[in-house]
Amino acid sequence: MSVDEPVPPPFAHRGMPTLTTRSPEWEPEVDARLARVGTRIWIVADVFFFAAWFFAFFYLRALNNNYDWLPAGTTHPTRAIGAIIVLLAIVAAGLYWAGARAIVTQRATARLFFWLALLAGVLCFVVQIYEFKNLGFDPQQGGGFPSVFIGLKGVWLFQLTGAMFWLATQIAQARPLGDATIRPKSVVTFGNFMLFLAAIALVSYVVLYFV
Amino acid sequence: MFAVVVSGGTNRGTPARLIVLVLTIGVVAALLALFIGDFVVRGPESLTASPATVAQGNTPAQNAFVHLEVVGSVAAAITFPRPDDPHPTWVSYLPTTILKVPANSTVTMQIDQEDTPSGLRNPFWSQAFGIEGGTFHMTYFDDQGAPQQGDFSSIPDAATAAHTFAIPDLGVFVPLEGVNAAAPAGSMNVITFSFKTGKAGLYHWQCFVPCGSGTIYGNGGPMQTLGYMAGFLIVQ
């Protein structure tokens, strides 16, 4: 079978009708509106989530308790690696955004962009793990900065992983009769979240490496 | 119409429901018993002070004697081993921390201190307070590992304290010197002192050396669990 055909479910289900007529409240237009509103609310909630980490950063930095914000021997990790991570995040978001714009008219192009975005995201993940492995400091030895660095980047990475998973599902669904094809506007909405993650990466880069 | 009742769909008879109800109540009751039992289960066994063998001055009141051991880990106990303890690595007083002593009497304590120094955060506690005569008797080991003994009102260096025996409500605070590193293996410092009990009641006692290793600020785990470094003095 060709790639663009819907994949039938592997197991027949016990006696259930598989497809029903749509009800008006489940039309793609309704879902698109809900996705738009919901994603915005979710992003604001996530802003609060990251705000806690930035608050921790500035609060602990200002207090510098026991002169242990930057313990002796702790240096900021290389800025270049941090920059690569941010760039990859921005590239992933940009590629996704480009792909989402194209999903209505050029599905094949969209899927190509999605694949590239996924690649950029996975690379971002790998580089981040590499950075964690070569920190040049050990958060177990105390210090406010090492704690915030690990924490902020860790939770960001966790969200990036989730976003990459969802991106992979968009790729899988960008076929005829796939969800991403039926509800293209919901696909576009997810780009907002990708952009948001990239923005957080940028802000934390500035904060963690330059402040 | 697809009018399906939101509550229980099929019409079971009352007996079936009753059985389900009884079963549910049984499960909840069992859970409750576990829940409550978990909290009200009694703490460690108590130790009743024995009549004193050492005469303390000319006080006609009752005398009592309590013998305790302090170890760095329960598994290393010499005098009072506690083999089935759930926390063999915890620092502990042995054999128990629930002590029963008579009211209005003089209690003589002998504490076999086998732990090494941990150090007091506040050197203030290296003094002894509230004990008979103001001094405690201690056999210990000097820097050459030779046994020594003497009467002290405080230990010379707060950093060499291993634990303290303190009953804040009776004003009794006694520092316990850590076993010197030069001492032979298996050595113990033996500290003896007496204090007076007043009216009957429940008093708590504790250690002021943050000795709960592995916990932040050294005051978790054994310091906050009855039977290890925390206990009651039941004056009756």
Binding site: P6, V7, L19, E25, A45, Y59, P146 | Q224
Partner: protein, 628 residues
């Protein structure tokens, strides 16, 4: 009926989502949870069970919870997406029928509402048992029944359990069940998130109840660091439990806000929204945006405890104030998450039983939103004596006192509605009036606490404990009970026994007030909170409190008997509209049809137009076809 209406109140699970290798249901969930826990502990401890390590327990709880959700069926949708299977938002019907449906993943908001109701009542029962044990121990100033280390564990369990309950016990059961009816829609915005917000609760409760197996935690619900970091593995229950509940609050809020914003039926303008929906809406704003702060904070605790970072350790460059600030930045909006939907219930019920329009509707909405806004600017009043930023204390004192203005509006609206009304003293109405009395005391005592100098004496004492029990038990729980009496016939198809209900009200009201009123005195007479021992001179007072607390608990048992008997053994089906009120959910038949509205209603007036000489229908049900 035509096949075009096969959809339901929520989308049922698409066939393809169910066709995983494992059948997804509650049993699979439990099995996978156990497996997940085992794997998590093994990984966290470096492959082996090791006493005293936190990483293993944290990972065990986390993996266990995730695997539970997977087993219940939450992975089906994302995995089906990932495998490229066709996804339809709705399908033919629920796979499960009867009671089994309530024990399994369902995307129907009605089922989720009932699941929430039962779970919350069960959790409240365990929290109540905790309270009884606490009061038993406080019968004597010595620590007799519960040893002092376990006493703190008990206090912590009671508080955290009740916080779990209080934060979801209105929005969960009643919000999920009735908001779609009240705004006239057949669906929730994100039914899977809605279901997720419920299914995160059982693991949270189980994990919390598991804490004593690991020694429990002694910190109370505030979890102040570094005491929390001293605590043993029990505290990991707190971290994961609150992370789960925080996630539940957040996803439930996203769903609820989007639903109310986007899915209102034609004619359901913002000024016609029932006030209960406004209460849920404002609480959802707080839940959505405050819970992420909590999630961040408990993740920091988890990092501190398992990875030895030092967010909260002063000597290592951290600060306990960081936790206090983050916790209360979440924590103060959290207490309004409790009370705002309770305001909604009370203001919703009073017009119906006074048979008079809600007096000052717009002012009431402004009041609710005012509380929502102000609650973000008051958190440092919990830290008045902590020694942080004293120059800011006048501001926080002022903002805290400010919040009594929008709160006062609730009383104004109640007064205006009661004035020259035709009041029926039904059981729900009694509980609403009880709410007004108790919350008045709670609110006035809050003013005592808001003022910095007087707070110096009252802070951390039984006075503040009595204060928040008056607002949460006397306020929120009374509102919940009112809502149960009011909506139970619509939710379950059975009336509660109203004679028992009246007995329950007077019993509970009297016992509650006699139990908690003396605690104000205890606080002023220098009894700090969370102590297992107290001054012997206060024994008489404490014994009195314990006696009435037992009776309070007994009144709740009476309520439980009423609920169980009426729900399962009362054969009589409730009438469709037992209260003769105008709100739209009562215009629908009882038992409720599977699909909320055959046609989307068009609202032509507000829900409280009593006394209007030419009353228009609240909703024009079925006169127009649903908009395509």
């Amino acid at each position: 009926m035509a096949t075009a209406t096969l959809g339901t109140g929520g989308p049922t699970l698409q066939a393809s989502e169910r066709q995983m290798v494992l059948p997804t249901n509650l049993l699979t969930g439990i099995v996978l949870a156990a497996v997940g826990y085992y794997v998590g502990v093994q990984i966290g401890n470096g492959f082996g069970f090791n006493d005293g390590l936190n990483t293993g327990v944290l990972l065990g709880y986390t993996f266990g919870s995730v695997m539970f959700l997977v087993g219940v069926g939450f992975a089906n949708y994302p995995l089906a997406r990932l495998f490229g299977w066709p996804i339809a938002p709705q399908s033919a019907g629920d796979e499960y029928r009867g009671a089994w449906r309530f024990l399994n993943l369902s995307l129907d908001h009605k089922v989720i509402g009932i699941q929430y109701l039962v779970a919350m009542l069960m959790a409240m029962f365990f929290g109540g048992i905790g309270a009884m044990l606490i009061r038993t121990n406080l019968l004597s100033p010595d620590q007799l029944v519960v040893p002092p280390d376990k006493y703190l564990v008990l206090v912590s369990m009671h508080s955290v359990m009740m916080i779990f309950v209080a934060s979801a016990a209105i929005v969960g059961p009643f919000g999920n069940f009735f908001v779609p009816y009240m705004i006239g829609t057949n669906r929730m915005a994100f039914p899977r998130l809605e279901a997720l917000s419920f299914w995160l609760v059982p693991p949270a409760i189980v994990i919390l109840l598991a804490a004593p197996l690991f020694g429990g935690f002694p910190t109370g619900w505030t979890g102040y660091a570094p005491l929390s970091e001293q605590a043993g593995q029990g505290f990991d229950s707190y971290i994961v439990g609150f992370a789960l509940i925080g996630t539940a609050l957040c996803v439930s809020g996203v769903n609820m806000l989007t639903t109310v914003i986007s899915l209102r039926a034609p004619g359901m303008t913002w000024t016609r929204l029932p006030i209960f929906v406004w209460g849920v809406f404002s609480a959802s704003i707080l839940g959505t945006f405050a819970a992420p702060i909590l999630a961040s904070a408990v993740i920091m605790q988890g990092f501190d405890r398992s990875m030895n970072t030092s967010f909260f350790i002063s000597s290592n460059g951290g600060s306990p104030y960081l936790w206090e600030n983050l916790f209360w930045f979440f924590g103060h909006p959290e207490v309004y998450i409790f009370i705002l939907p309770a305001f909604g219930i009370v203001m919703e019920l009073i017009p119906h039983f006074a048979r008079k329009p809600l007096w000052g509707y717009r002012t009431a909405v402004v009041g609710l939103l005012g509380v929502t806004l102000l609650s973000w600017f008051v958190w440092q009043h919990h830290l008045f004596v902590s020694g942080i930023a004293p120059a800011l204390r006048p501001f926080y004192m002022f903002s805290t006192e400010m919040i009594s203005i929008p709160t006062g509006i609730v009383f104004l609206v109640a007064f205006g509605t009661l004035w020259r009304a035709k009041i029926s003293m039904t059981v729900p109405m009694l509980f609403c009036l009880g709410f007004l009395f108790n919350f008045l005391i709670g609110g006035l005592s809050g003013v005592f606490l808001s003022d910095v100098p007087s707070d110096v004496t009252l802070h951390g004492s039984y006075f503040s404990m009595a204060h928040f029990h008056f607002t949460i038990v006397g306020g929120e729980i009374f509102a919940i009970v009112a809502a149960i009496y009011y909506w139970f016939p619509k939710m379950t198809g059975r009336m509660l026994n109203m004679t028992l209900g009246k007995i329950h009200f007077w019993w509970m009201m009297i016992a509650f007030n006699l139990a908690f009123m003396p605690l104000f005195a205890a606080g002023i007479l220098d009894m700090p909170r969370r102590v297992s021992t107290y001054a012997p001179s206060l024994q008489g007072l404490n014994d009195w409190v314990s006696f009435w607390a037992y009776l309070l608990f007994a009144s709740m048992l009476l309520f439980a008997v009423n609920v169980i008997w009426s729900w399962f053994f009362n054969p009589k089906v409730a009438p469709a509209d037992p209260w003769h009120v105008r709100s739209i959910e009562w215009t629908l038949p009882t038992p409720l049809p599977r699909r909320n509205f055959e046609r989307i209603p068009t609202f032509t007036s507000g829900p409280y137009d009593y006394g209007n000489p030419s009353p228009r229908p609240a909703a024009d049900l079925g006169s127009e076809p649903a908009p395509a």
